[in-house]
Subunit: 113 residues, 2 copies
């Protein structure tokens, strides 16, 4: 893919999504999205570094992997932050549940070791 | 909930997750997690501001809401970034698919207007 140069597109032709030169407006938006995604991945990496330490601590202290009271508070807090930031609070809740489910899977694995 | 103060826990008692004073080690980890979550929510809010503009642009230009070639590139790039940051690349792929699915839903809604 990387070695293939885009085919020339005659004026007025229907753009081919695989080969057309990218729309410059779209390309600008996508550069911003790519920067944000790199930041998200690095924040998530740091979050999992911390939750890994939490998992080891919980396993050593024989604490349960999940904490429903803490989770309910996290969800409520992030819904409020989402509203303030003009992000759909339903999405913020789906997002944090998605992350917490992954963390609990990690904790369960840590306790099985 | 907020007005109820924690019950005192006798030494050696099994901690009650609802009322026990929080373990100070766990509390420190959780403060870091809460800071990271606030950053994640704000990065996601900014990402959706941009993808909303993308959606409006695509709707005006009659471009399709989804772009499988772009998505495959995003997934591959974020998997590499995840490996470098010591984050599970499978998780990074699940995460970006979760976000892209939400974006496509937004774009479809924008094109139905």
């Amino acid at each position: 893919m990387a070695s293939r140069s885009p085919d020339p597109v005659p004026p007025g032709a229907t753009p081919d999504l695989c080969n057309a030169p990218e729309d410059p407006v779209l390309a600008g938006f996508r550069r911003s999205i790519d920067n944000i995604d790199a930041a998200l991945i690095h924040m998530l990496a740091e979050r999992f570094r911390i939750t890994q330490a939490v998992g080891e601590y919980k396993a050593a202290a024989a604490l349960p992997p999940a904490d429903p009271v803490r989770e309910a508070r996290q969800i409520e807090r992030l819904r409020k932050l989402a509203v303030e930031a003009d992000l759909d609070p339903e999405f913020s809740e789906k997002f944090i549940r998605f992350v917490i489910e992954e963390v609990i899977r990690h904790h369960q694995r840590a306790q099985q070791r």
